[in-house]
Every structure is written in C-alpha cells, then in structure tokens.
Amino acid sequence: MLDCARWRRLWAYAPAVAALLWVGLDGPAQAAEVPQERLQLCGTCHGENGNSKMEKMPSLAGQPELFLANQLILFRERLRKSEAMAPFAKDLTDNDILALAAHYAKLQPEPSPEPVDAGLAARGAELARKMYCGSCHLPDYVGREQMPRLARQRIDYTIEALTAYRAGTRYGVDTTMNGVMYDVSDQDIRALAHFLASVR
C-alpha cells in the first residue's frame, strides 16, 4: 500500500495526467513513441530508467513487451486493482499502451538497491528450482511473452505480488500463478523474492 504522503504526491500529478491523456487522444496513434511528459510521470515512481528506487514500486526495465501491455490493460479495465495505477491507466488507448510497453521492454534492468539476505537467497534458489519457476519465466528468470522478468526485481514488490497471487487478489492473464502460489508460506515468499532480486 502507498503511504499517505506518497499518495498525496501522486495526486498532485492528476491535472498533468489529464492534460497528457488529452494530448494522447488528440494526436495520431504512434505505437513507437511515448511523449516525454508521460515517461517523466511514469518515472516518478518506476525510476527514470525504469529501475525503481521507490518502496514496493516495481521495476519495468527489461520486462517483456506483452507482459507490460497486458498489465496496463488489466489496470485500465480495473481487472488488476491498484489505487496507485488506476488514474494513470484509465484513459490509455491500446496504442499508448503498446508504445509504453515497447519503451520499457528496451531498457536495461539494474539490480535493486535493497540489501539481499544471502541465506534467504540460497533457500529461494532451491525453492525456485523445486517450483519450476524457470519453466515459464526461463532459467535465468528474464521472462518472456506474458510472463514477467523476475531477475533484479525489487524484493518488496515481489513479496507483495506473490502474496497477492496467493490471496487470489491478483490474477495474471490466466490463473496459473494463483495455482502456483497456493499454500506457499510467507517465509518461502521472502526467500523467493531475495533470490530473484539477486539473479544477475
């Protein structure tokens, strides 16, 4: 969840968002280009190069294009519920979304600034192998198609995402992750998050 101060900060951008979206609707669809103002807005939370320095805000750099597009559509359609993202996603066109996805997919993912617990990471490595995470997310966890990059993702965000999948409060484009996370303990979720953040 967002703390109050950050929530107020985000709302301060609302008029700018509205203006940007107006511009977006006005101009011809350009799947290849994202307006600078919009990138700055996204970067406020997700990091200007798509690598988040903000608590529980996911890094977007190097995420697969289809994954990014899908998530923006899920936000827009209110199928992935997020108070933080809803105002930004609600009026995005398909072409806006494709352009954002293409932009962030090309950026270079950097390690999270969070400290990694080596013991937890070692345990997480073992768990990830047992849970076949690499089958879909690939053995180096860089993700593909609708399946996100996990390597170098923020620890606190991964914990939040996996917990939401376990609780059934978040879905991907199918219910696979809800099945995967059934009955996984808090401690195991932490271990997975520390391991995945540390994958180079």
């Binding site: 289809l66 597009a69 899908n70 559509i73 899920l74 359609e77 209110r78 199928l79 398909d94 979304i97 494709l98 192998r129 849970m131 076949y132 089958s135 879909c136 690939l138 053995p139 593909r144 198609e145 609708q146 399946m147 059934g168 879905y171 484009v173 199918d174 219910t175 696979t176 809800n178 099945g179 995967v180 996370m181 059934y182 009955d183």
Partner: protein, 419 residues
C-alpha cells in the same frame, strides 16, 4: 440421473450475505475436502520435464489492426470462401446469437462481452459488459443473454433492445457456482429441453476430484433450480451442442498436460439418451482408454464411456456446433464443426484449425475444414480459433481469440472464389 443441490445457499442469504458470498459459503459448508486444491499447475509434471520451457501462449489484449489480420492465409475446402466478418474485439471467444440477429461474444482475461450488430452489411460492435472475471460462458434464450463468469451469473433481459444501456440482473445466487478458479471459466448453452447447461472444469491439471462438484457438465432450469449432473469425469469441456436429430448432447473435452507430446488426446464425447450422468474417465482414464500415469487405480477404464472420436494431442478442441443449414454441401448436414485453439504443452504445435466431425451413430470421423492459422514449417501461429456458430443463412462464423476477429465461411460451390 444424479441430482445435486448446494442448498445451504438459501440459508446463508437469510443472514444478509451477498449472492456470491452465499454461494461460496454454501459450497464450502458442503465440501468434504479442503476447498482449495493443491497447486494446480505443478500437478502431474514429472521431474524429467523440469527443464521444459512449455508455457501457455497468451493472446494479445490489444486491438489487432484489420490490415494485419492475414485472412488470406486461411484455407478451406473447394467452393468455400473466408472473409473477415467483424474485428476489433480483443479476446473474442464464445459466440451466441440473439433472436434479432445480434452476435454476442464472450472473452476470458479482458473481461468483456461484446455485441455485434449488422448495419446495412457493415458490422458494428459495442461492449455490453466489462470488468468481469472471465465471462467465457454466454447463452441466449427468450430475449435474454446469460453471461456466466468464473464467479458470477448475469442475465440481461431484452438485451437486443438495450445495447446502449444494458441492465444486468445478478442471478449468481440462484445459479450457484463453485468457488474454484482454475479451469472454471465456463461454457454455457441452453438446451432443447430449455435448461441452462454449463461445464464445471477440474481445479487442477490432474488430481483426484469430488466428481459431484467438479469435472462435470450440469444443467438447471433457467431460474437456477434443479441442478442435475449430465456428465462426470470431464476434465474441462469448453464446447457442446445437441445433435439435431437425436437431441443427444455431444461435447469436447481437453486432455491433461505434462504427459508427453503424444497426448492423451482431446476427446469428442456423446451423452447417450439413456446414459445421462455417465462417467468420462477423469482423472483415471483418458482418451481411448489410456490410464493416467500419476493417478492410478485398478482397472482405471472400467465403467468409463469412451469418446466418439479423439481430437489430437493438446489440440485444445473447444467450441463445436452441429451444422443444420442448407448453404454447405449436403454431407455437412448434421455433422459437427469443431474449433481447435491449438496446443501449448507440446514441443511441436498442433491444432490451430477447425475440423469437421462426421457422425456415424456413436462414433465420429474427423477431417480438416479450416487451416492456415499455423505455419507448420516455422511452428508459428497467428490466430487461435475458439468457437464456431452457424448463421441463419447457413454461413459459419469462426471466432479468433488471438486477433479479436470473427470470420465468415460461406459456400457457393464456385472454385474460383477459393484460395
């Protein structure tokens, strides 16, 4: 005939719970086993496949521009023609036709229901419902559209006159859906007996199930009363129809994953008139009598109704309808057309087509009808057929989830008109 009722729902509503909560609570009260299944996706995956990179192929949720829909790659038999009939509807899957000619289309992930109207030869579409949890099950009867999602049942009365301001009635409590998510997007249709039929898939890839609750096709009156089980041991059926002459129910069923490239194959099944409630084998016996490698018991195929035909390994045989029109050649009459969305759990892709099932009593023979969604040389696909529907003029509509498009297949007999 077996009967089942989740009757605690009525008690629960007495204390003011919402419809969905009531249905869920009632189901859990009745459950003999823990409500949540073990990890659905892991079940049955052998350690020898730990390095496998097979994963489902997700369809885009953005609009495919019409000029990028390569309809000219589609191949149909001589004398048939394919054209794009409607487009711009991401995730288009199951189809139902209204009395006044509106085509309703369900989806999964994107959560929308579309309505397509024909305006002077041009198709326009509207979104009549959105924000739903996989509204795959849609049916039309007596002016009402029924939308069955994973956790809700909605009825839109007089919908064809209210496309701009649809007014759903939540009938979830009466319809009484089970709580599990996995394999619980529905296929729905109203039968010749005027009852609402739907599939309830199994909450796993392969697992022991309570056959009274999951892995079945059931029916109930349109007001939700009198739930009866029509077929059990059905893994996940996303397509059924009634034979035009015998009025017997025929259905497709998807085989399990992670048991190798060869199968077990998907099935085309028949529910004989005197055998309603029959058992179709899940989880012990698959396809033409293949024992499950993981869930074992003595004589696993004893008492199992065998398929009328197998439909190929991992092919994802989904929507099917019997052809009753007079546009197509005479040998199509009373044959079934079946959309095969195409495989993911197979090293070389299979399916991605529409096949014709010619029925001979309790058996069927399968031949290709519409191909070209898959390039077998490069193993790349560009489309995913999910459902078929016969129009009043006898033409066949085919939905393509990947491109959010509906194709129209017509027959003139003129070879020059074909690819």
């Amino acid at each position: 005939m077996q009967s089942v009722r989740y009757s605690a729902a009525k008690l629960a509503t007495g204390i003011g719970l919402g419809a969905l909560l009531a249905a869920t609570a009632a189901f859990e009260l009745n459950a003999q086993q823990p409500a949540a299944p073990p990890p659905a996706w892991k079940q049955g995956m052998p350690s020898s496949m730990a390095d496998s990179k097979l994963a489902p192929h997700a369809a885009p949720m953005t609009v495919t521009p019409v000029e990028k829909i390569t309809v000219d790659k589609l191949k149909v038999p001589k004398g048939f023609k394919v054209e794009i009939w409607a487009h711009g509807m991401p995730g288009a899957r199951m189809m139902a036709l209204g009395d006044k000619g509106t085509l309703f289309i369900g989806t999964r992930t994107i959560g929308k229901v579309y309505a397509v109207s024909d305006k002077a030869g041009k198709r326009e579409h509207k979104v009549v419902a959105e924000g739903l949890k996989q509204p795959n099950g849609i049916a039309f009867k007596n002016g009402s559209l029924y939308v069955i999602t994973i956790d809700q049942a909605l009825r839109f009365d007089g919908i064809e006159d209210k496309l701009d301001a649809p007014q759903p009635t939540d009938i979830s409590q009466a319809i009484n859906l089970p709580p599990s998510n996995h394999h619980n997007w529905k296929f729905a249709a109203v039968g010749p007996d005027n009852k609402l039929y739907m599939s309830i898939g199994v909450p796993c890839n392969i697992c022991e199930i309570d056959t009274g609750k999951y892995g079945l096709i059931r029916r109930q009156n349109l007001d939700g009363s009198n739930i009866e089980i029509v077929a059990r041991g059905v893994r996940n059926s996303i397509g059924f129809d009634w034979h035009p002459q015998t009025k017997e129910l025929w259905f497709t069923d998807n085989g399990r994953d992670w048991a190798g490239d060869a199968g077990p194959e998907e099935e085309l099944n028949r529910v004989a008139a005197n055998a309603e409630g029959a058992f179709y084998g899940f989880p012990y016996c698959h396809a033409n009598g293949i024992p499950d490698p993981d869930i074992k018991k003595p004589n696993p195929c004893a008492g199992v109704t065998m398929p009328a035909a197998t439909l190929g390994p991992h092919a994802a045989a989904l929507g099917m309808r019997f052809y009753t029109g007079s546009m197509f050649p005479a040998d199509y009459k009373n044959a079934a057309l079946i959309a095969r969305r195409g495989s993911w759990n197979r090293t070389k892709k299979f399916g991605y087509d529409v096949v014709l099932a010619k029925i001979n009593g309790a058996k069927a023979t399968i031949t290709p009808f519409m191909t070209g969604f898959l390039d077998t040389q490069t193993d790349a696909h560009w489309g995913r057929p999910v459902d078929v529907l016969q129009m009043p003029d006898g033409a066949l509509l085919v939905s393509d989830e990947h491109n959010g498009a509906i194709y129209r297949v017509s027959y003139s007999g003129k070879v020059a008109a074909t690819k």
